[in-house]
């Protein structure tokens, strides 16, 4: 009980900080950037300026949300109103940014671009904080989940109504549509492949370390080394090994294993993914209730059956938490593939950086952030489901 009270008090602090950040972001000088063309430096403008009257509506929404968050209203009402205000922010700002961009193109030329600036992104982050905090006041359940995804639905609706077509990132998307989805799928397959390998290796090494105490330092010692090796150095070290292998073994060559490309990417990403999964598996199994494992042995279960029926199922929520960390980490980490000829969303990031085309960078970064957030939420739900037997559930 005391725990959830603390969470709820903390939620007020987070919500009000979110509002403060939102107001600062609305006033920040670089909310939107108006450029004559895609690589031009551009003319910054705050959201308040750029949105006209709607800018004042945005400010009022933040103030109102802060007041409600601090108010002594009943929790359910407070949670509902503040969440709705939080959900309105991304919808309002994106819609307004879209129309500001359209106006700008109409008043200048078709090669003109409107980019989303720091103030805009901070606003989205502030809204995320607000929603995250305010949902703590709501009863868990379907309606709470629906409210969390309300802004996503709003953004999709605005985008499909064509309200965003003149925004820089959407223009970059339109220009790169076919390659975007190809790289997106490639990116996802790197993540899936690496986490799958990481899951198998992580489970094996986690169980091994938990069962054979003498192997624990060996297992985590080697995983630690992999973990601290900088990505590029790691790929550099792999390069001669992999090219050597494919030169000598025909099968590897046929598979397209080379010093660059997908092979080193998968190896590096998997070795990062192993660590959190192995750590959590080990911790979960090592900390199982002694009475339960003792009883399992006492009724005559063999080691494998105990692992399959008792230890792994009981460790599952914690293992999934490890998978969640690995997924989020790998989703971001797979950017590196763009640098070493492996493709993926990183391509847009590095190409954008070399051309100083911020919007192209964003075309790579925004889906990565969205994917990471999605994985985080989805696996959180799975953790909760698999832990149904704990007294808290």
């Amino acid at each position: 009980m005391a725990d959830t009270d603390l969470v709820r008090t903390r939620a007020r602090v987070v919500a009000i900080s979110g509002c403060a950040l939102g107001i600062a972001a609305a006033l920040a000088p670089s909310g939107l950037l108006f450029r004559a063309n895609r690589v031009f430096r551009g003319e910054p403008s705050s959201l308040l300026e750029a949105f006209g009257a709607w800018g004042w509506v945005l400010l009022c929404a933040w103030l109102l949300a802060a007041l409600l968050a601090a108010s002594p209203l009943r929790e359910r009402i407070r949670g509902l109103t503040v969440t709705l205000l939080g959900a309105a922010v991304p919808i309002l700002t994106l819609w307004q940014a879209g129309s500001a961009a359209t106006d700008y193109v109409e008043s200048t030329s078709t090669i003109a671009r409107t980019s989303l600036g720091l103030g805009f992104w901070l606003t989205q982050f502030a809204a995320y904080m607000l929603i995250f905090a305010a949902t703590a006041w709501l009863e868990p359940g379907a309606s709470r989940v629906a409210l969390t995804y309300l802004p996503v639905a709003g953004v999709v609706a605005i985008a499909s109504a064509g309200g965003l077509t003149e925004i820089g990132i959407a223009r970059e998307y339109a220009n790169n549509m076919s390659s975007f989805w190809r790289e997106f799928r490639l990116h996802l397959s790197y993540v899936a492949g690496a986490v799958a390998v990481g899951l198998v290796a992580g489970l094996l090494s986690g169980v091994l370390a938990a069962k054979k105490r003498s192997l624990e330092p060996v297992v985590f010692g080697s995983l630690n080394v992999l973990q601290v090796l900088p990505t590029l150095a790691f790929i550099g070290l792999l390069n001669p090994v992999l090219s050597g292998l494919s030169e000598r073994i025909a099968l590897f060559e046929d598979l397209g294993v080379r010093g660059v490309g997908w092979a080193p990417v998968i190896i590096v990403l998997s070795s990062y993914a192993v660590y959190p999964i192995a750590r959590n598996t080990h911790a979960a199994i090592a900390s199982l209730d002694r009475a339960v494992t003792d009883a399992a042995r006492g009724v005559g279960m063999g080691r494998l059956r105990m692992l399959a029926e008792i230890e792994l199922p009981l460790a599952l929520p914690v293992v999934i938490a490890g998978v969640r960390v690995a997924l989020v980490q790998t989703t971001a980490g797979a950017i590196i593939a763009g640098l070493v000829g492996g493709g993926g969303l990183g391509i847009f990031v590095f190409l954008g950086a070399s051309e100083t085309a911020t919007d192209l960078i964003l075309l790579g970064v925004v889906p990565i952030v969205a994917l990471a957030l999605f994985f985080d939420r989805a696996l959180h739900g799975l953790e909760r489901l698999t832990g149904f037997w704990s007294s808290a559930g």
Partner: protein, 319 residues
């Protein structure tokens, strides 16, 4: 029958169990009793090979357990521990079905057996079978623990402080039910506790351990009348006589004959189903020197203080 011969367990230079020998007869209820750290759990766990002995042997019906596969051995011995050790990720049904499943029984037989076992320990199968352990009270969980241990009808039951973590009232209820179960099923039971009342109430024989040594192994009455050492005498203390009186039913005592004209309502009286201890309490409570013993309202005889004490005198009173 379990024969324990010269059983010893050392951890490094520390001797946890020192050359313990004792025999548990078929159907006998043996309690391992002793202060904390005296080696009770270690002896118990060497019986089902959860702990491997440093030396000595355990024979199960004449067969050395060291020659059996530990898993198979354990499936023939029910095992109940203090914190129940119920599997939290399984329903009560699946928990109780564990050993039958390991033994490969068919589904129908398992399902019937689970209901039978829950009934036996006083839990309604329809209400409880689909619950999860976290939805049970401590006492209910402990009953499920006993049901799980009995499910495959093992001839032997090993219990390590099974009622140690429940409240005193529930504990007393569970003890009486355990006594009833033993009378009904006649399992060979080895039961660990450090609670003297529990030991004296339940045991056919008590093995008193001290720092890994077996001090004495005998029926509670014998421990009272002929303690083997000062330690034994001191451990049970002054109250052992009273505790033993709680083991015996008044109907087992030879009453003095009675003038047939006396009615049960006229004088201080007790039913013959009470224990000797309760009869004594009644005697003191009524400030009387004798009590009329009645059976369903009909007078049967008279007991006085002397009869009550003498009933234990030779240590041979039937339990």
């Amino acid at each position: 029958m379990i024969e324990i011969a010269d059983l010893t367990k050392r951890y490094g230079s520390f001797t946890a169990v020192d050359s313990v020998s004792l025999t548990v007869e078929q159907g006998q209820f043996t309690v391992l009793l002793g202060p904390s750290g005296s080696g009770k759990t270690t002896v118990l766990r060497m019986i089902n090979r959860m702990v491997e002995p440093t030396s000595g042997r355990v024979l199960l019906n004449g067969v050395d357990t060291a020659t059996m596969r530990p898993e198979s051995l354990r499936r023939t011995m029910g095992y109940v521990i203090q914190n129940t050790g119920l599997f939290p990720n399984m329903t009560i049904r699946r928990n109780v079905a564990t050993v039958p499943r390991l033994l490969g029984w068919d589904r129908r037989r398992i399902e019937e057996r689970v209901s039978e076992m829950l009934d036996l320990v006083g839990l309604d199968p329809d209400t409880y079978a689909s619950k999860y352990p976290h939805q049970l009270s401590g006492g209910e969980a402990q009953r499920v623990g006993v049901a799980r241990a009995l499910a495959a009808d093992p001839p032997v039951l090993l219990m390590d402080e099974p009622f140690g973590a429940v409240d005193p009232l529930t504990r007393e209820r569970l003890q009486l039910e355990m006594k009833r179960l033993h009378a009904k099923l006649r399992k060979t039971i080895v039961f660990v506790t450090h609670d003297i009342d529990e030991a004296v109430l339940l045991a056919d024989r008590i093995a008193l351990l001290r720092e890994g040594h077996l001090e004495q192994y005998a029926a509670p009455e014998k421990l009272w009348i002929e303690p083997a050492s000062e330690f034994v005498k001191g451990f049970f203390g002054e109250n052992l006589g009273l505790r033993i009186m709680a083991r015996h039913c008044l109907s087992s005592v030879p009453f003095k004959p009675l003038d047939p004209s006396v009615s049960c309502a006229a004088a201080p009286h007790v039913e013959d189903s009470v224990t000797l201890k309760e009869a004594l309490a009644e005697l003191v409570g009524a400030k009387a020197t004798k009590l009329i013993v009645c059976h369903e309202g009909a007078p049967r005889g008279v007991v006085d203080f002397e009869t009550l004490v003498k009933a234990l005198g030779d240590g041979s009173a039937p339990a």
